[in-house]
Symmetry: C2
Subunit: 207 residues, 2 copies
């Protein structure tokens, strides 16, 4: 049944076309969102700009929001991999520090998304809500590190603190387009937060 694919690198015309269409939809949508706002842009307009039928949009994305947040699954995936495949002796906290450092530099799509989201209260809430699986990932990793049981609250607070720091950094980075952004400065803040978390864990242990 499963015929071995002769060209593993080339995904085939069908798949390539699909990816292209997908990207076209994303580009068209982000451009319209930027120009006239998210709420003010209809699926019909996006379809028109991307030169596909409105029905096709929903074949690619379950909801309008998913067009905007199309890049978040892969971002989460990157985080997941970095957490799973870490060298022996590297704690979850250390691994997270590394990923956060790498992720402070926003990709172009990510930056466009940030700008659109910043304009719409509803979208801000959605973005926040979409971090839940990512946060859960952190909780699990940290729990495993600490050997914590399901009732242990430490992983949750540590993850929450890190997410807060991460969001804050991202927002600040976004506020100043690329002007005074300093990677060292950002990492200094991350290390402050890690220090906070370690201090907190210490305090809980010696209670």
């Amino acid at each position: 049944m499963e015929a071995p694919n002769p060209t593993e690198v080339r995904p085939g015309l069908r798949e390539r076309k699909k990816q292209k269409t997908r990207q076209t939809i994303i580009d068209a949508a982000l451009e319209l969102f930027t120009k006239q706002g998210y709420e003010e842009t209809t699926i019909a307009e996006i379809a028109d700009a991307a030169e596909v039928s409105p029905r096709t949009i929903f074949a690619y994305f379950p909801t309008k929001e998913d067009i905007l947040f199309s890049d978040t699954p892969e971002i989460h995936e990157r985080f997941r991999r970095a957490l799973e495949h870490r060298a022996e002796g590297v704690t979850a906290l250390d691994a997270l520090r590394g990923i956060i450092a790498e992720s402070l530099d926003l990709g172009p799509t990510e930056l466009r998304r940030k700008r659109i989201v910043a304009w719409d209260e509803t979208l801000k809430r959605s973005e926040r809500a979409r971090q839940a699986p990512f946060e859960q990932m952190m909780v699990d990793a940290i729990a495993k590190d600490l050997g914590a049981g399901p009732d242990d609250i430490r992983p949750q607070i540590v993850a929450a603190a890190l997410i807060a720091a991460f969001s804050k950094l991202r927002d600040r980075d976004f506020a100043e387009p690329s002007e005074s952004f300093s990677s060292e400065q950002a990492m200094a803040v991350v290390d402050e937060v890690i220090g906070f978390v370690r201090g907190g864990l210490e305090a809980m242990r010696r209670r």
Copy 2:
């Protein structure tokens, strides 16, 4: 212009009727949500059960979700007041400890809401997102306490940690209806988290 109200205690027939209708809608909605699920319940059904027109529902609540979350504004208001009107010398952290303690006991509407939300992923995300103003409130209060500037990240991590603890406790409380719930036990966890936060702040200070 402003005629002084002769009966300050009695809000007048119109207002009383409005409150009654509002409550009827909420009750009808929560019952239907519980019985058949949130997504499976339409505005038309709620209107029918509450004996008002569908259009009237939207005169009372901007969205279907707002019926479900109708009690959250007053909860946030309670928190806000407790944070603002606290005795001299009581820190924001102390005040928050108190409010969290008081709020662990869920009201009947709150409990019904929790049960409905627990069944629906989308609603979980919404609930989480709706905590944003509450979190901001915490951030502001803590920032004022610490004399922190806008770039100081400490208020955000402290607030995030507290929210996480709060949510965790609430969820656990919800999981066990009222059986093995112990107020002392819950407060012990809260104090653990407060200890964590204090330890974290300590660690940041002596960095």
